[in-house]
């Protein structure tokens, strides 16, 4: 949809967009300015002025004292186990839902969909009891299991949506070639679905990276914390040292920014794809 518009109104729109974009970037700029100042600089120099001397060591200090590397390593470990495992489990289910027509498959799909809407709050106490019984409180297997559960509805929605677009003739050809059901799944459906799987991988990775509520409840040991709860603890500890706190924030933004810039097209197409079902 490209509408032909008057040049003046086009210019006005452009100005509007640029102004809005500037407003959106302002918080990040303010954070960066603060992070690069010294504490005295912060008090004496106007906020809009460039730091007198760039205090790069704020970042080093935040990284070390804030134990950022530890929190990031913990989060990456959880995400790198959870995400591929989740996708495998979700793909198996989505495969059954789309390729092995069976009684009740529609109901099953609706059941999974409803799970996407259940507020996590409604599960916390019983999950805590279950983890306690299994001795999985404050362990990575425990939190990964819970993350797997909450990822399943969205994963199935995305993968089922994509599997449906793969023509059935391709599967039938595979059957004639003597592929079993497992062969069909691993040799046909999975390779053909790589775009959807890549999208889901990135989405799920970010969701796991950013998750807060479950991490807050089920991981209480500082040495096991993830980046969200770790940042909050760091913030509590250095709430008076603004440059250091902002350096910590910026450090925690960087990995997200890198993933985002590298995979921008997946974010956009993935979100749009998820709703076409």
């Amino acid at each position: 949809m490209e509408q032909r518009v008057h040049p003046i109104s086009k210019a006005l729109k452009y100005v509007l967009i640029v102004v809005l974009a500037a407003i959106f970037l302002l918080p990040v700029l303010f954070i960066a300015f603060t992070a690069l100042k010294s504490s005295s600089d912060l008090l004496t120099r106007p906020f809009y002025m460039f730091p007198e001397k760039l205090q790069w060591h704020n970042f080093v200090q935040a990284w070390e004292q804030g134990r950022m590397s530890m929190y990031m390593k913990n989060t990456a470990l959880i995400a790198l186990v959870k995400v591929p495992l989740g996708i495998l489990i979700e793909a198996l289910a989505a495969f059954a839902l789309t390729r092995l027509a069976f009684k009740g498959s529609e109901w099953l799909f609706a059941l999974f969909l409803i799970g996407m809407m259940v507020p996590m709050q409604a599960t916390l106490v019983p999950l805590n009891m279950i983890l306690n019984k299994l001795g999985l409180v404050d362990t990575y297997p425990g939190i990964i299991l819970i993350y797997l559960g909450f990822g399943i509805p969205f994963g199935i929605l995305i993968l089922r949506g994509f599997f449906r677009t793969i023509p059935k003739e391709i599967d039938e050809a595979a059957l004639i070639d003597g592929c079993g059901v497992m062969g069909k799944f691993f040799k046909i459906i999975i390779p053909l679905s790589m775009p959807a799987i890549a999208t889901l991988f990135i989405f799920d990775f970010m969701a796991t990276w950013n998750e807060f509520l479950l991490a807050q409840i089920f991981i209480t040991k500082d040495s096991m914390r993830t980046i969200t709860t770790g940042l909050l603890a760091f913030r509590g500890q250095y709430s008076a040292n603004y440059p250091l706190m902002n350096a910590g924030v910026l450090i925690s933004v960087v990995p997200v920014l890198i993933v985002y810039v590298a995979f921008q097209k997946y974010f956009v197409s993935g979100l749009a794809g998820s709703v076409k079902g």
Partner: protein, 291 residues
């Protein structure tokens, strides 16, 4: 033959098992717990029927505030966040130089965690050194400076401003996807008939975006009911419990006050409201995918 019937269930089993263990059974058990008084550690629970629910509705001083805040949040999201998202989508759907970059800028805050967004904005609202008060001083409006997050009158709105920054990217991207499916012909026909841009917006764009609206409204309403991270990490529900929403009040009741029954009842209110919003949507989606 037996294996043939079982086969799909073998494929579904891991997902179904984990799903039922993590979401389904715990939710039902929370429903059960909501009929009891329990502190989470005592060996016995006292059955109290519906009194956790009636106490919340009649005697809890924060619950009505939390419900009202959730409703305000929903209303604000459906008007302001969705409105800005739609406006950005329409602007960026035209051939503008650098529109990919702009799209990236507006969407970026959405990929940040609530805790990061909260920390950034808490700093911006800092009474002494924050951007807002400093900027007000700079333009001679220093007397307007506030402790934004510590003032019950402003706190919720201050958090919501952070939510706007955080959230407009999502509806924007969904609307952009919707706009790209709209064909060119109706606009051409309308132009020939002398329609004004505003008329084209209301009589062509909006009706043809109907499906996108259904999705965006459903997602927005559900996420407004679930809002938690930003509020917890910016105000913790304060000042004077003025910014609590159902999710944060549930957390406090359950994990700070150890009122498991009350916390469970709040969760059930959340589940109920969410299901009322979502069942028509799920019905619509599964039905549509049959066609």
């Amino acid at each position: 033959m037996k294996i043939g019937v079982l086969k799909p269930w073998l494929f579904v089993f891991p997902a179904l098992f984990i799903y039922i263990a993590v979401i389904f059974i715990p939710t039902l058990y929370t429903l059960y717990l909501s009929f009891f008084n329990w502190n989470g550690v005592a060996p016995t629970k006292t059955f109290v029927g519906l009194s956790n629910y009636t106490d919340l509705l009649l005697h809890d001083s924060v619950f009505p505030r939390a419900v009202a805040n959730n409703l305000l949040w929903t209303l604000g999201s459906l008007t302001i966040i969705m409105g800005i998202g739609l406006m950005l989508a329409i602007l960026l759907n035209q051939k503008l130089k650098g529109r990919i970059v702009f799209r990236g800028i507006f969407y970026f805050p959405y990929v940040l965690s609530g805790v990061i967004v909260a920390t950034i904005w808490t700093w911006m609202y800092n009474p002494m050194q924050g951007l807002f008060n400093k900027a007000l001083e700079l333009i001679g409006l220093g007397s307007w400076a506030q402790a934004w997050l510590a003032e019950p009158k402003f706190a919720l709105y201050a958090v919501f401003v952070a939510a706007i920054w955080n959230g407009v990217g999502q509806p924007m991207v969904l609307f952009l996807a919707g706009l790209q499916t709209i064909p060119q012909d109706p606009y051409e026909a309308a132009t020939i008939d002398g329609a004004k841009p505003r008329q084209m917006f209301w009589f062509i764009t909006v009706p043809l975006l109907r499906e996108t609206f259904v999705i965006v409204v459903a997602i927005t309403m559900v996420s407004s009911m679930k809002v938690y991270d930003l509020i917890y990490a910016m105000t913790g529900g304060g000042p004077a419990e003025s910014t609590h929403v159902l999710a944060s009040w549930m957390y406090i009741q359950t994990f700070k006050f150890a009122n498991i029954g009350t916390g469970s009842a709040i969760s059930m209110f959340l589940v109920l409201i969410t299901l009322v919003i979502i069942i028509p949507y799920v019905y619509y989606t599964t039905k549509k995918s049959h066609l």
